[in-house]
Subunit: 207 residues, 2 copies
């Protein structure tokens, strides 16, 4: 297997754990000579396919994860302010991502980082069309609404959701490293160990 195989990384613009992971995955990959392919998806679609619900749909679990989002961000040194409106619909932000990614994957990532940070540090409501259009314009996309209304980018996002389900993705962040699946921001240390040993089954103990 080519050791330079890219890492696949699935995220939803409304997932706090995916936002945290988006802040470390490329740096971690680069330390091991890897690139990362980002995939914006709609978690609602993968939840439905796996007959799962969001952790925040369960009151007791919601209370825990709302605390854990901020704590996990602090642990990674990532700024985090719990958005007042949460979770939100993210199909328009995702369609913009795929539009940009089609011509330049790095530009797509820049948009993703811009939008994730806007939502998770300043509470910018990515589900509100005028707010999203304004954020996109500031980023350098003057015609954002025309893009996310375009049937083509709607279809691309649908295909990407289907591809995620086919790949076994049932939550976010989700990673595949040389065929090995990892679910969750909390799998960072295991991913690092996997990359260091090129997914050898003998992972060293880490305290």
């Amino acid at each position: 297997m080519n050791v330079k195989t890219p890492i696949d990384f699935w995220f939803d613009f409304s997932s706090p754990y995916a936002y945290i992971a988006s802040e470390w995955i490329d740096a971690l990959a680069a330390r091991h000579g890897r690139s990362v392919r980002w995939h914006a998806i709609l978690l609602g679609v993968t939840f439905q396919a796996a007959e799962l619900r969001s952790p925040v749909a369960y009151p007791l679990k919601r209370e825990y994860v709302m605390r854990d989002f901020a704590r996990s961000a602090r642990f990674e040194g990532v700024p985090y302010v719990q958005p007042g409106k949460f979770p939100i619909s993210t199909q328009n932000a995702a369609r913009l991502f795929w539009h940009l990614t089609a011509s330049d994957a790095e530009y797509g990532k820049q948009w993703a980082r811009c939008a994730l940070r806007a939502y998770f540090t300043r509470g910018v409501d990515l589900s509100d069309p005028s707010t999203l259009a304004s954020l996109a314009a500031d980023f350098g996309i003057p015609d954002a609404a025309a893009i996310w209304s375009d049937q083509h980018w709607k279809e691309v996002l649908k295909c990407e959701n289907d591809a995620a389900v086919a790949a076994g993705v049932f939550g976010a962040p989700y990673f595949i490293v040389d065929g090995e699946p990892f679910w969750g921001n909390d799998r960072k240390a295991q991913i690092a160990a996997c990359l260091a040993r090129i997914c050898s089954p003998q992972l060293a103990r880490q305290d």
Copy 2:
């Protein structure tokens, strides 16, 4: 707050992640001058209270976690062999735990470690009365069936399940460190950081 407050640790004898955590929690606590109070519970009761289901109840998630159990054990340097019969009923093993713990908490822990290792490394079926009685006899409990059939220990386990639900426990392993809840074997690094800083909100970045 007294910095020597014990850490509370909830587990089910049928939880792989709780088994892995049982192998590191006391050593980690000891490095910070802490003791650990173990609580054997029935995850089915906490799942029901939180309207949750086991991750292995969802086909796609089951496939992932079955792989992640073994990988997470390797990552911690803990021996693990997926039991053929899984998950299993664990009320009898838990009643024995509470019987022993009532007179000697350390002896209760020894039984828990014995039974968890028997199940997760040799596939010893803790749900089978004669198998469990035999394991208990080898451990030094000659009258195990009389204990787990005793209404008193049934009531104690019920109370402990209720207490866990009241404490917010909705999965295993679950920990409370100075009032801060942590869910999952994968929160080890955050617990370590919390103990090092006595739960200061400023957790340092860890790569």
